[in-house]
Symmetry: C2
Subunit: 340 residues, 2 copies
DNA sequence: CTGAAAGCGCTTACAG
DNA sequence: CTGAAAGCGCTTACAG
């Protein structure tokens, strides 16, 4: 392999001069710089990442701790990953992707070995067992998802409370009086997916404040269960005129369910989901929905993380907890309820 | 940070002894080993990855070159990624994920800098511009997807030709005489997605051999275009009784299209897709399909790559091109055609 | 069975 | 404006 020594020899300068010429960290005469650049080009020199990391204590790599949980919704995950990798690249960082089911152990190894300069955690649970490890690590961390305790980390999440309110108020203002809310499976909550509660409780409160009936239920995360569940809920609440979905699988299954019941939205039922626009387009989902903005959240997390890594902020600038406000993408699946 | 020197001091031995005790590369007395292990545990020592990589010329990292193309189907991508990361972890490797739109440049940087010991390429095109870079790199590479020229790399792909034949023959044997095949968008082909041709040509041949009419068409990769396209195709070929889908978005859109046309499968139309079982479950797709096995392909690629990296095979063992044979998952969406 | 030392390829004070 | 040298934290021949 070609090393900095080869470049130095070819350019007729010292290795340190090559290093400085490349980093720009001290003034170099135009002539020498040109010779170095030429040698770099001709030899095809790329610095050895391990050597550089060892010398600088900086790897220029960000760790991305994802968990591919069987009962959580995979496609959304890719969008988070995409937001993170894209913005990391823009900032000059590579991504080390871990999907180890043993999150704390993987995180400890990755941070202790100094493979990464910082870490983004996806799928953060209310009481996430990776957080103690992250707080003990020397590198900064950014989370996508809101834990109970946010000390020592930067946190980014959709404002699920506001999302619940927006969903309910949108249908209330159209005149609906009885709604069904289908949430994620109970496993997700048990695992600490507090966002399910956050949306549901806010929706219940908003419904109570407006005098609406809101039937809150859990749904599973795949077929055929979720389809049966939707049928059962529609059977159980025949007078409900609005359906709120905080469950991507339910949204994906709903067109078929409506077909089977000979119903259509918004004629027979107004529907509001909570998922990304990308998801809606790819899966032909014709329902209005709260944009869950996974790519945007991933980008926000990386940008803040990079700011910390590069200490653009004072050493221990206060950590942030930032919520993306929900926006309703209107796809025409809501209308005033049919008079009964 | 705690270094091997700290461990050595705590255990009262030399740094080399610590290294050997940890690697097992030479005999160590039980007593010394115990002292070392204790010190490692108490100090929480993890070797510095950069230093180790520099000393051994091995990073224990595999590069994963994915491309998040806007008109290709995202959810399938996550399954490839999952197969790759999971099997890499099993083999003791971490994953460096690159989604750089400039694939050749990213690949060159990652390999030249010795960040990775080997590379897996996803989304491989017929004439993939990353291949020259990969062949010139000192690390081995494994591909998911079949390029025109396979020299110097290990290649894994679904047997799309056989898939086309299986689809046609399955419907032929049920008595269908006129079929429609919806492929990926033309962009995908122009970009070098030769698998589209491979499946289509084999299907056309099989149809010709059996005396069937097969209307081959392209479809777009998202809504609402793909829905309109399906309607148009069904309008144009009213006598077709079988529908073959080599296009995930089309499969996702079809339930709604059938609903809108008051058709059902297999009563009015027999349908066979080509996608993964995971995809079918998540998106409530009730159609029989050829299993595309993304996770399996990812695993195969990594296993072969690791074998090369670790030279378990003779230095330049012949490179492999391995096809996964298509299996038809029966979800009950095919039947003999309705008599007209 | 163990240790002292060289070397991996960089960066960065230190000197001039 | 440039160079010689130390040092980052490992591994591994070399010696005993």
């Amino acid at each position: 392999m070609v090393t900095i020594g080869d470049v130095a020899r070819a350019a007729g300068v010292s290795r340190s001069t090559v290093s400085y010429a490349l980093s720009g960290k001290r003034a170099i005469s135009d002539e020498v710089r040109a010779r170095v650049e030429r040698a770099v080009r001709e030899l095809g020199y790329t610095p050895n990442a391990g050597a550089r990391a060892l010398a600088t204590s900086q790897s220029k790599v960000i760790g991305l701790l994802a968990q591919f949980l069987p009962d959580e919704f995979a496609p959304a995950m890719l969008q988070y990953i995409q937001g993170v990798t894209d913005s990391a690249r823009d900032a000059g960082y590579d991504i080390l992707l871990s999907s180890d089911p043993n999150g704390p152990q993987a995180l400890k190894r990755i941070t202790d070995s100094r493979m990464v300069d910082g870490v983004v955690l996806l799928n953060v649970a209310e009481d996430d067992d990776r957080l103690p490890v992250l707080r003990a690590a020397p590198q900064p961390g950014a989370l996508v998802g809101l834990p109970a305790d946010c000390t020592g980390v930067d946190v980014f999440d959709l404002d699920f409370e506001e999302a619940g309110r927006v969903m309910v108020e949108h249908l209330a203002s159209l005149g609906h009086r009885e709604l069904i809310l289908v949430s994620q499976p109970e496993h997700v909550i048990e695992r600490g997916g507090a966002y399910v509660w956050r949306l549901q409780n806010a929706a219940l409160e908003a419904a109570a404040a407006r005098g609406l009936a809101l039937h809150a239920a859990f749904g599973s995360s795949g077929q055929p269960e979720i389809g049966r569940r939707l049928h059962a809920l529609l059977d159980a609440h025949p007078d409900a005129t609005g359906l709120l979905l905080n469950n991507e699988a339910a949204a994906a299954a709903l067109p078929t369910v409506l077909h089977e019941r000979h119903l259509s939205a918004p004629g027979d039922l107004s529907v509001v989901g909570r998922y990304s626009d990308e998801f809606a387009r790819t899966f032909s989902l014709p329902f209005s929905s709260i944009e869950s903005a996974p790519d945007r959240l991933g980008r926000m997390a990386v940008r803040q993380l990079v700011r910390r890594i590069e200490k653009q902020e004072p050493e221990s600038a206060p950590h942030v907890v930032r919520f993306v406000s929900p926006e309703l993408a209107d796809r025409g699946s809501t209308a005033p309820p049919r008079r009964t």
